[in-house]
């Protein structure tokens, strides 16, 4: 019965690992920074022992190859293409990046060269992000990086890009620390978490909900949002707020939803990415909790993928609202129109915000290389600081740069940050409504429907 012993051992190991993962804190990104501690004794009138901590950052520069010697201009993309990462969003990001590269190549390339994309699968794991970025820079010799979906992964990739001084335009990670790092190589066009959360918070306050329950996934995505909301709601005087953490792969939310139903809140939020989003919408609806006249339902941004959303939630999706990063149809520009049409033709799927961001981030990087006239990192970084471009997301630029540092009254994350990312609240008021048909309900100055439509 050797196999039985092996199986028992395997299952025990599995159990222990699951328990450790369940009970442990959220994964913390590794920060590559060397700290040298020096102890020094100084003789004065009285003998005093002084301990000094000296932080020393190690910067390694990748050796750039002159453009004339390059056969193609290689850029690196990264994002989750397999589990446990959000591979639905990662796949869209890769597709949009490929589309941008193909369009640029069809238009003659950059600096007279064809652009080549190497895309790495980070699986949503910080350690994979580090390995993929190292490989892209040191093995593939990419001249710039773009993409990423998960903040925890972006934080580790950022450190590697900084170590080698490679210009990086992040498309989707929201953690404030990404740009608050102040690294010269790091740029971002996604909203910071503080900004993103504030739109939903202001909406909740304006509607007047007083008791709110957030069921959030136990990842950086869920934690960052929950922390932002709780702090901002408290500041706005909404204190009856509860946060419940869930594994994003949870199949059955019913028991916790039944518990919430004992004292139904004014608003229930299911901030779960991927398949968990539609599962929770359905299950909350099936037990009669939300969306209902008593309890509103706020879904994760995955609700923007309208075809998938309706296929998976059915009638339960009516009255659900969510935060959308990107431009609603009413404010599309020519670039947005072209992007959406081409993406749908090419991939037979509605593009979501991550794809729009990845598309624009790729254009920003490649246009900066064109503007710089070289792939030399410092020149590309300078070009990115001075860039102004109309993308699918609107007018893109970076307000605070080495020539215009972040003022004291602005948050640190404004460094190399696109200052005006578009964040809206959208509500599906009819069954099978498309994203374009669904009204924008907040901010009110751009809204196309009532503030909140109740069942």
């Amino acid at each position: 019965m050797k196999s039985r012993s092996a199986v028992n051992l395997f299952v025990i190991a599995l159990v222990l690992s699951v328990l450790v993962v369940s009970c442990g804190p959220a994964p913390t990104p590794e920060v590559i920074r060397e700290t040298v501690v020096v102890e020094q004794t100084v003789e004065v009138e009285k003998e005093v022992e002084v301990t000094k901590e000296v932080k020393q950052e190690v910067v390694v520069t990748a050796t750039p190859v002159p453009v004339s010697e390059m056969e193609t201009i290689l850029i690196g993309g990264f994002g989750p293409l397999s589990a446990p990462g959000s591979y639905q969003s990662g796949t869209q990001m890769r597709q949009a990046t490929e589309m941008a590269v193909d369009e640029i190549n069809e238009a003659g390339g950059i600096l007279g060269k064809e652009v080549e994309l190497v895309f790495g699968d980070t699986e949503g794991l910080p350690e994979r992000g580090t390995a993929v970025t190292e490989r892209l820079i040191t093995q593939n010799n990419v001249v710039g990086l773009t993409g990423e979906f998960h903040s925890a992964v972006g934080l580790t990739e950022m450190e590697v890009a900084h170590k080698y001084g490679i210009p990086t335009v992040f498309a989707e990670p929201w953690a404030d620390e990404i740009t608050a790092s102040g690294y010269p190589e790091i740029f971002r066009i996604a909203p910071s978490i503080e900004y993103y959360s504030s739109i939903a918070t202001n909406y909740m306050v304006e509607v007047g909900w007083e008791s709110i329950v957030f069921v959030v996934e136990d990842t950086d995505y869920g934690h960052l949002q929950a922390e932002g909301w709780v702090a901002q709601l408290e500041e706005a005087g909404v204190t009856d707020v509860e946060v419940i953490y869930a594994d994003p792969a949870t199949e059955d939310f019913t028991p916790i939803l039944q518990r919430i139903q004992q004292d139904p809140p004014d608003m229930l939020a299911g901030v779960i990415t991927g398949i968990g989003n539609s599962r929770m919408v359905r299950q909350a609806c099936e037990i009669g909790l939300a969306p209902s006249a008593e309890t509103a339902y706020y879904a994760s941004s995955d609700a923007q993928y309208d075809e998938d959303f309706w296929e998976n939630v059915g009638d339960c999706g009516q009255y659900v609202f969510f935060t959308f990063v990107g431009l609603p149809k009413t404010v599309w520009n020519e670039k947005t129109e072209a992007f959406v049409t081409n993406f749908e033709e090419r991939y037979d799927h509605t593009p979501g915000a991550p794809s729009m961001e990845a598309y624009d981030a790729t254009y920003l990087l490649l246009n900066a290389i064109e503007d710089a006239g070289t792939t030399e990192p410092e020149a590309v970084i300078k070009a990115l600081e001075n860039i102004r471009m109309t993308g699918a997301l609107g007018e893109l630029w970076f307000e605070y740069t080495s020539d215009n540092p972040v003022p004291e009254d602005e948050p640190d994350w404004m460094w190399h940050q696109w200052p005006t990312p578009s964040v809206y609240i959208i509500q599906y008021t009819e069954v099978d409504q498309t994203l374009e048909e669904a009204p924008v309900v907040f901010p009110r100055e751009v809204s196309t429907g009532p503030l909140y439509t109740s069942p």
């Binding site: 699951v18 589990a83 398949i275």
Partner: protein, 297 residues
């Protein structure tokens, strides 16, 4: 009291479906002596088979597709058993235990990535068996979930009948107890291996097809049901059919009650799986062969 009963009912409904899934794994283990690490992927195949058949053949009632999905899973299983597992039982493999682990893990990765490449990463959901919810007095249960649970219960009963009352069932039990003695009375253990693996894969596929309208499907949807099934079969006793049924129901109840009653509500759902595992570890500590496992000889 009402809350306790409603949460228990939710757990019981899920537990019956868990039991069906675990039964397939038990069947494979008790006959072939291997653990199928791709069991969750047969669950996934069942879900996708149901979705794809219903997408291409409109007008078909979703319930009629469940046996078809089971058949697709069983055929995949049969093919895999003949190509990759039969060499173990023909003594062509030097290290059969390690080989079985590697080859079933390999199948798992292959099927996930194949599905990702062919069907894509987006979640899908086949149409409901029956729309709406059923008011059971204490709790509203979706008609889909209730249907899945009732069918699972029927299938578990049918399987018990087959195992205990038919010639094939007796032959399977004979091979499970003593391969050589079974051979002496004319039972072809290789054929029984194929039947058991195909049946186990088919049961997982049926579970996938039954739950797809409730939980939707993605290429990696089998991971959680798969881990849960391993826990159930060890908790119930490796190779014990009765153990798988009770194990499934226990895990279903514990997960549901833990999420409903854990003192810190913010962590109740997060630790839901862990509670089932704690029960499992306690059973292993005090009764290492599981609840209904046979004593090692």
């Amino acid at each position: 009291m009402d809350f306790f009963l409603s949460v228990s009912l939710t757990g019981l409904i899920m537990g019956i479906i868990y039991a069906l899934m675990a039964l397939g794994l038990t069947l494979i283990y008790s006959i072939l002596g291997i653990v199928n690490f791709a069991h969750g992927e047969f669950y996934m195949i069942g879900g996708y088979a149901s979705y794809l058949i219903l997408s291409s053949l409109t007008g078909l009632h979703p319930l009629l597709v469940v046996p078809m999905a089971g058949l697709v899973g069983a055929l995949f299983g049969l093919l895999f058993e003949i190509l990759f597992l039969r060499p173990i039982h023909k003594d062509r493999i030097d290290r059969p235990d390690e080989y079985a682990i590697l080859v079933t893990f390999g199948l798992s990765f292959f099927l996930i990535n194949l599905t990702l490449a062919v069907v894509g990463p987006y979640p899908h959901r086949p149409p409901s068996f029956f729309r709406g919810t059923v008011d059971l007095g204490l709790v509203n249960v979706s008609a889909d979930r209730l249907t899945a649970s009732a069918l699972s219960l029927t299938l578990v009963g049918a399987l018990l009948l087959i195992i205990n009352k038919t010639w094939i069932g007796k032959a399977l039990r004979a091979v499970s107890q003593d391969k050589q003695a079974a051979a002496v009375v004319g039972i072809d253990s290789l054929s029984m291996n194929s039947i058991a693996f195909a049946a186990g894969a088919g049961l997982a596929a049926v579970a996938g097809a039954l739950l797809a309208p409730s939980f939707s499907i993605t290429p990696d949807v089998g991971a959680q049901p798969s881990i849960r099934s391993y826990v159930i079969i060890v908790l119930g006793g490796m190779g014990s059919i009765k153990g798988s049924i009770f194990g499934g129901i226990i895990i279903g109840l514990v997960e549901s009650l833990a999420a409903g009653y854990f003192p810190d509500p913010s962590r109740g759902l997060r630790y839901k799986t862990a509670f089932g595992l704690v029960i499992f570890m306690l059973v292993l500590l005090f009764r290492p062969r599981g609840l209904f496992g046979r004593k090692e000889e």
